[in-house]
Amino acid sequence: MCHKGNLKMMEKIKQLSYLFLSIVLLLLAYFLPKITEFILATPFVYKPITYNETYVAVEVFERGQKVIVRANVSDDLNDIDQVRINITDPNNVKKVEFELMTDTGESCGTNCTIYEYNYTIQSTDPGGTWEVWVWANDSYDNTASNSTTFKVCVISISLSSVLSNGVNFDGCSPTGEYCYATGNNGDGVTDYNITITAKGCNADLYVKGNQSYLTTDSQQIPISNIEVAYSTTDSTVPTTYDPIGTAFSQGAIGSNLEDGTVVYLKFRLYVPSGQSAGTYNAGLKFQGVQNGYSPVD
């Protein structure tokens, strides 16, 4: 009696299992294509590339320049809904926040389209490394993203207070000898230095005279009689002097300088024998430029 009851129970469980299995199979038959579609149709964003206005791929930009960000976005079903972009400056300020990128209509392969966004670097934008994020959504709300960076090169140079006050040669004898600038402090630590601020790039540093001669009334001393020695490591500055010219290209005093570098300087003046007594004046100009580029006179 008990045995018969167990058999019936077993039969019921079996029937319910078949029913459950049938339902699962029906559900799978309905959802599997959609799951497959979901997996296969996820968009893909290739690493964005930054270009200048002439569409040359560039990683370092200057203030005022237009940055063109282009991203190749693919989707198996070719149903990209929208592509958006964030551009964040080195101070973590979002300069572009979740803006739509433009579909250029240009193909980058099967089911692949190029999207573009332009950003012009403002005169007050900071130098350093900027971050670009690109997101793509398809019509199923599948998303994908990728990122890149570009640099904005900003250089500034700062003269030490003594250098700002002038390079002065006092009490020079006209005996055909060198006269050393007062801020050199002899063989000691010089008071003349320039601090480099270089964000997003390294800098080269140049010096030149603002005119061909130091002058007093009708008398003059060639500006090339002023010589400069420089060092980034020795504040007492080695005694290798080079003449100063009237073009920056003649007066390189530091190259490939990183942000925060201090360039130490010393100056001397060759006073020709019998040079007339008097106070001779001129100006010195300094220029920091992006490493590898020519200075601008």
Binding site: S164, F169, G274, P295
Partner: protein
């Protein structure tokens, strides 16, 4: 045909070189700063004596009771004087020359007063210049001689000595000083 191809090849290579080889562009990113520079060249005067003057002003074979005895280097009446002073070529201003003596010529306790000791000066020299007629007696303060001389000009000098009658024999000495000052400035005792 081959020549044309070669020329075309060279031209193509030249154009490609210009386009492909890296050119150092002018920087867009620059930062500028400037400062002044000033050089003060000091007044520099270096006086020099002629070789004869460096050995001293010597009067040989003097006799008592004589006047206007020539110093040995005067060459008076026969040629230019061997005594002159000038400034070095790196002297960078025009100068005025000054002269003085430290006191009477002395030999032990005997002296010959400075009023007996004369000089004359000129920027040129010959047998008669500087001239005896232009002589001036030494003093112990600087007296100005020629003025506004540049570093190419010499100041020529002659010296005379009167020996009073009855002057005791001996070798009499004193020191004569020369000074060059910037033109227009006073001599500095």
């Amino acid at each position: 045909m081959m020549k044309k191809l070669a020329v075309l090849g060279i031209v193509a290579f030249a154009i490609a070189s210009i386009l492909i080889l890296p050119q150092k562009g002018e920087a867009v990113v620059t930062s500028n700063a400037s400062t002044t520079t000033s050089a003060t060249v000091a007044v520099y005067i270096a006086i020099q004596l002629s070789p004869t003057l460096q050995t001293g002003i010597v009067f040989s074979n003097l006799q008592q009771g004589t006047t206007d005895n020539n110093a040995d280097g005067n060459n008076y009446g026969s040629g230019g004087t061997d005594y002159w002073i000038n400034v070095s070529s790196d002297t960078n201003v025009n100068v005025d020359y000054c002269i003085k003596a430290d006191g009477p010529l002395t030999s032990g306790s005997n002296t010959i007063a400075l009023s007996n000791y004369y000089f004359a000066n000129s920027t040129t020299t010959d047998a008669n210049t500087p001239s005896l007629s232009a002589k001036k007696a030494f003093t112990t303060s600087y007296q100005k001689m020629d003025t506004g001389l540049d570093n190419t000009q010499n100041e020529y000098l002659r010296f005379w000595l009167d020996v009073p009658a009855g002057q005791a024999p001996g070798t009499y000495e004193n020191t004569v000083y020369f000074q060059a000052v910037e033109a227009g400035q006073n001599c500095v005792d």
